[in-house]
């Protein structure tokens, strides 16, 4: 196959296409500043992200990243192991590509009166480049750089509605918390480097033995790394930025951050903890990080769901629900055991993929509501189904999928998480508590998700509304997301195989 002969660097095509698209947009903007030619700009962004997505899908189907021993084209190690393209990297590049494409398409309508078109899309694509690179990062240095590449454009994107106080305030808060978290993260990197003398993840794993004297130092470093991941994934206690940032940010950006950025945060967490800090070695060093993740998973899902339960503002509810879902995905790390866990890790990856569709779709519905200007609270959404039945069907799909109701994708990923946790519980009884928390929180989440469905479908509007327009881009993105949320069910076999295969490949 052609992929075999290609230079190694082409394995990084998905992030490189994103970067290239961003540069094209920059060039366009410098030639033609203040252009508001939305079709061209949004079109370039959409095409670029779709191309990145297509290449990533093609790669994973063509066996790039699958070890040669398993009939694939081999794992690509670049720059002496600084970057790696394996199945998991491609899996997450797909998630990033999907979300970026959906957001680019949806933003076409959302930004109709916006002054900074090219800037907006190039920032989105730069952030996506960062996230896509995070998926491939295999060294603490590249992880940090790509993480910052993802974060810095995000701060600007949250604050891009310059005349909107909420947006600016959210951007600043996001930036401050981000700065604090990055400081903690980079300090953690230095401590790990101090203890092991290496930055490359495999090298860290090989040199853990040397850290026996300094296990406290290493432990604090590991916890600080966890802090950095928790920030990126919006997990407790580093989640405080999320509700504020999502609420203030333009809704497509909230979708982008809560889906793609979260997934990217998880991919580095998965890679670091499975590659650099094997659980068996770390347990002998007294650093049982799976316990930390158990605690974080339970606390995060509980905090997220409980805080979401009584929100009046739809976007804020979704923000907290995204915190809750971070808790679910954390089960992937909490459920890792000394000799197993690819099922539960794969389930977490599946959940992030499904989440990429359903949560993006949900936020895009909020974007649609903001586009219409109907308001922000549950009451303002009352009776929307009469004017926009298709979008409201999609919303019901997203909500029930988020709550984990069959037959939608969210049910299956949650189901796998649950069974995975139960399976791992034979090795670590604490996971029973995690599984119980998952069930309880899912039950609670049904309450507030169905509240939104009830508002749009059952309640009567508080005020009479005029008929609502149907913006093509937003509608297309929402409908695609809804269709994928449903279709992923028959396609779940391959998706589950891909995710579990990817998880199995990185677990030593």
């Amino acid at each position: 196959m052609a992929v075999l002969e290609m230079p190694e660097l082409t394995a990084l095509a998905p992030p490189m296409i994103l970067a290239l698209t961003a540069l094209v947009l920059f060039t366009y903007d410098s030639i033609n500043p203040r252009s508001t030619n939305r079709p061209v700009i949004a079109g370039v962004a959409a095409v670029g992200s779709l191309a990145s997505l297509a290449v990533a899908v093609w790669f994973i189907l063509a066996g790039v990243g699958t070890p040669v021993a398993e009939g694939g084209n081999g794992v690509f190690d670049l720059f002496e192991g600084q970057l790696i393209v394996d199945q998991m990297a491609l899996f997450f590049m797909i998630i990033v590509g999907v979300v970026t494409a959906l957001v680019s398409i949806a933003s076409y309508d959302y930004l109709r009166d916006h002054a900074y078109q090219a800037e907006y899309y190039s920032l989105v694509l730069l952030a996506a480049t960062g996230m896509s690179t995070m998926a491939a990062s295999n060294s603490l240095v590249t992880i940090f750089i790509s993480l910052e590449l993802a974060s810095l454009p995000s701060f600007a994107l949250v604050a891009i509605l310059k005349s909107n106080r909420g947006s600016v305030e959210a951007g600043l808060k996001y930036f401050l918390i981000g700065a604090l978290s990055s400081a903690i993260f980079v300090y953690g990197i230095s401590l790990v480097y101090g203890a092991t003398g290496h930055m490359q993840l495999d090298a860290i794993a090989d040199n853990l033995g040397a850290a026996e004297e300094m296990n406290g130092l290493l432990g604090i470093g590991v916890l600080m790394l966890i802090g950095g991941f928790a920030y990126k994934t919006a997990s407790v206690p580093f989640h405080f930025w999320a509700p504020e940032a999502y609420e203030g940010a333009p809704a497509p950006i909230a979708a982008f951050l809560s889906s793609a950025s979260k997934a990217a945060g998880f991919v580095i967490a998965f890679r670091v903890f499975t590659t650099a800090f094997p659980l068996d070695v770390m347990q002998t060093l007294g650093i049982d990080w799976s316990l930390v993740f158990i605690v974080l998973a339970i606390v995060t899902m509980t905090v997220g769901n409980f805080a979401a339960a009584t929100q009046n503002n739809v976007k804020r509810m979704l923000a907290y629900s995204s915190v809750g879902h971070a808790g679910y995905a954390l089960i992937g790390l909490a459920g890792l055991t000394v000799d197993g866990g690819e099922l539960v890790l794969g389930a977490a990856m599946m959940h992030l993929l499904v989440y990429g569709f359903m949560n993006t779709g949900a936020f895009l519905f909020v974007a649609l509501a903001e586009y219409w200007g109907v308001g922000r609270t549950f009451e303002d959404y009352n009776g929307l189904s009469k004017q926009a039945p298709i979008a409201c069907v999609a919303l019901a799909v997203f909500m029930f999928s988020l709550a984990g109701i069959p037959p939608f994708g969210g049910f299956w990923s949650k189901y796998f998480l649950f069974t995975g946790a139960l399976e791992a519980a034979s090795a670590n009884p604490w996971l029973l508590a995690v599984a119980a928390a998952l069930v309880i929180n899912s039950a609670l989440s049904l309450y507030y998700y169905s509240r939104l469905v009830k508002a749009v479908w059952i309640e009567d509007p508080v005020l009479e509304r005029e008929s609502l327009s149907q913006p093509t881009g937003l509608y297309a993105a929402i409908v695609v997301a809804a269709v994928m949320t449903v279709l992923i069910l028959p396609g779940f076999g391959p998706v589950a195989d891909a995710a579990i295969g990817a998880a199995g490949a990185i677990i030593p």
Partner: protein, 672 residues
């Protein structure tokens, strides 16, 4: 041979198609869907006859068709079992259903009823359910269609749902039979859980499993295998007692007369009520394992036969009399099955299907004649004005009363004969026998009271003087059934055969599988071996016993008829029941059975339900509400964490992080 049995599913599916057609297109069709139903049931009848012929040709069919739930220990499937019993039953059901459909043209269409598409659709569904029930090769499938049968009878009894009484009767039928089905369901689950299979026949049937469990002396849940089989059999019997209207769950049946008379004919002759007895016959091998269960069946049957017959004596409504006669006759069938008379029970089931369908359709014809008057005291003198109706009705009455040579005599006689030879050995069966025997007298009496009041004497109302004419679609079914009521007995002239030493007991050979090959486990002789009941003959002679039993039954029936003749076959009869005094009140109130059931519902069930409700309201709801208020309260707390002040967030992040470091550090021993 692949041929015949490949078409077996179509027997049930044709009426289902008629159901769909009548429901969807009924309003636009001539006769509002009646022809669809007639065609479908005629097709079913032809196919059933083909099955009968194929079985007679020596083949049985026992095939699973579709597994709908596959588990590790048990698999649920739909399948078809066609053996002599089910083939016979298929013919009976589809024949009666066909005749009822034809009769409906005269009874419903000609009388200008509304809602006819619904009527024919429900008839189609009813027939489908019953045929599928008969075809079922496993208990769970049987249960499902048993329930569908119940649902359809609910729909049809409540056909005139705008009246006050019909919906209430429908609900009563549904609830009372549901009460019995509840036990049936537990029985199904228990049998499945105990033996891991629910199939009726074949090597892996639950009957065989039960047999080997008893042989191996296994114990289940602390019970010996035989006791356990008895318990399971009695649980299933709960459903049978409900459906076949046996004491004490018979109370729904008289009220079910609120439905159209055609529906009553179908319910009583071939479907709903017959389903219960058919189920006992279907799993007779299982009951044969438990003498206790058999004795209970026999006793309940005998008691019901007498009990219902006495109530039939004082009824004035022609359909009410028939209703009680149905209960009583199914009592006989249960008695027959209970004393191990598998052939006798099935024989009576068949005969009863014909003569009871005849009587109900005859009553329907009378009701047409009488412009929808059902009170017998307002009839009289119809004999000369409607000879076809009269003579066919009379044939049915003679069969019901058990007068030789009509069909009912032969089967009833056989049941009583089977009961007495057992009863001479075992007192409990003797009691059951005596009740059955005594009921013969009452049967003869109320049957002929009905005939005389309706057809003889002088007309006692305007309508009776000038009856409404009936058409051919009414007369043809009556004639067909009238002939059958007269002649159906010849398939098993057991007493004649035994005394004269002739081989004319065709039904017995049929059910014994003598015409079929390779049939094991489902034959009369094997059932008899399993049950192993001892019998004794009077004076040690089979012939004498036969003669005495036959003479007793016939004599009592004739005595009843003669008493009726003396009292009521006069030009202007008077209600002699007045003379019964207090007993009449008790009988007219049906022994206060309804009152007892209402008391059970209101005096026992209601307080229990109230207590459960109180528990639900306070404890369960309290917990649920508590959880929700705790959640909402917690939610408020979580919300307050988010103050909006960034410095607070920074502080909380750092504090949280430190807590993690301290926690994991102490746990991991970093600080020592």
């Amino acid at each position: 041979m692949v041929g015949a049995f490949e078409f077996a599913p179509a027997i049930a599916l044709l009426p289902l198609a008629a159901f769909v057609v009548a429901l969807v297109f009924g309003n636009g069709m001539p006769k509002k869907g009646a022809y669809a139903g007639i065609l479908a049931t005629a097709g079913s009848l032809l196919l059933s006859l083909w099955m009968l012929a194929t079985v007679a040709g020596g083949e049985v069919y026992n095939e699973p068709l579709y597994d709908w739930a596959i588990g590790d220990e048990i698999t649920f499937h739909f399948g078809i079992l066609i053996d002599p019993l089910s083939a016979l039953m298929l013919v009976i059901v589809s024949l009666v259903a066909l005749l009822v459909h034809i009769f409906s043209l005269g009874y419903m269409n000609a009388e200008g009823e509304t809602g006819l598409p619904r009527y024919y659709a429900e008839l189609g569904l009813f027939t489908f359910s019953m045929l599928a029930f008969v075809l079922a090769d496993n208990l769970l499938m049987a249960f499902m269609f048993f329930e569908l049968v119940g649902l359809c009878s609910y729909l049809l009894i409540g056909f005139w749902f705008r009246t006050r009484s019909a919906p209430s009767a429908a609900k009563k039928a549904f609830l009372v039979t549901r009460f019995g089905d509840y036990f049936f369901l537990i029985g199904v689950v228990a049998i499945g859980a105990t033996f891991g299979t629910l199939t009726f026949a074949g090597d892996a049937s639950f009957v065989n499993e039960a047999q080997s469990a008893i042989d191996a002396g296994e114990t289940f849940h602390g019970f010996g295998a035989e006791t356990w089989v008895t318990i399971l059999g009695l649980l299933v019997l709960g459903g049978v007692i409900g459906k076949s209207a046996q004491f004490p769950l018979h109370t729904w049946l008289p009220d079910a007369m609120e439905g159209p008379t055609t529906v009553s004919a179908l319910i009583h002759a071939a479907t709903m009520v017959a389903a219960g007895v058919y189920l006992v016959a279907r799993m007779f091998g299982f009951y044969a394992l438990s003498p206790t269960a058999l004795a209970i069946i026999a006793f309940v049957g005998g008691f019901t036969a007498l009990f219902a017959a006495t109530m039939g004596v004082v009824k004035d409504d022609i359909k009410q009399v028939l209703a009680y006669s149905t209960i009583s006759q199914y009592g006989y069938m249960m008695l027959g099955l209970g004393v191990g008379g598998y052939v006798a029970g099935v024989f009576h089931l068949m005969n009863h299907a014909f003569f009871k369908a005849l009587l109900f359709l005859g009553a329907g014809a009378v009701i047409i004649l009488m412009h929808h008057e059902q009170d017998m005291w307002k009839m009289g003198g119809l004999k000369d004005k409607a000879p076809v109706t009269y003579y066919t009705f009379l044939a049915g009455a003679l069969a019901l009363a058990g007068i030789v040579p009509f069909s009912g005599f032969w089967s009833k006689d056989e049941i009583l004969y089977d009961a007495i030879i057992l009863g001479l050995e075992e007192p409990i069966f003797l009691v059951a026998y005596s009740m059955g025997l005594l009921a013969v007298f009452f049967t003869g009496f109320y049957t002929f009271r009905m005939v005389f009041l309706t057809f003889h004497g002088k007309p006692r109302s305007e309508a009776a003087r000038d009856p409404h004419p009936v058409g051919m679609n009414v007369k043809i079914p009556l004639i067909v059934l009238g002939v059958l009521a007269l002649l159906a007995g010849v398939v098993n002239l057991a007493p004649v055969g035994k005394i004269a030493g002739m081989d004319i007991m065709f039904l017995e050979y049929w059910l014994d599988g003598q015409y079929t090959e390779g049939m094991t486990g489902l034959t009369y002789s094997e059932y008899s071996d399993t049950a192993g009941l001892d019998t004794t003959y009077i004076a040690g002679s089979q012939t004498i016993t036969l003669l005495i039993a036959g003479a007793l039954a016939l004599g009592l029936a004739l005595a009843g008829a003669i008493v009726a003749h003396v009292l009521y076959n006069v030009p202007e009869p008077v209600p002699h029941t007045e003379n019964l005094g207090a007993a009449r009140e008790v009988l007219r109130s049906n022994y206060y059975q309804d009152e007892v059931q209402v008391w059970i519902a209101q005096g026992l069930a209601m307080p229990t339900a109230r207590m459960a409700d109180r528990f639900d309201q306070s404890v369960i709801d309290g917990v649920v509400n508590g959880v929700s208020s705790v959640s909402l309260f917690g939610s408020g707390g979580m919300k307050r964490l988010q103050t909006g002040v960034v410095t607070n967030y920074a502080a909380l992040i750092v504090l949280g992080f430190i807590a993690l470091v301290v926690g994991l550090g102490v746990y991991g021993g970093w600080f020592v």
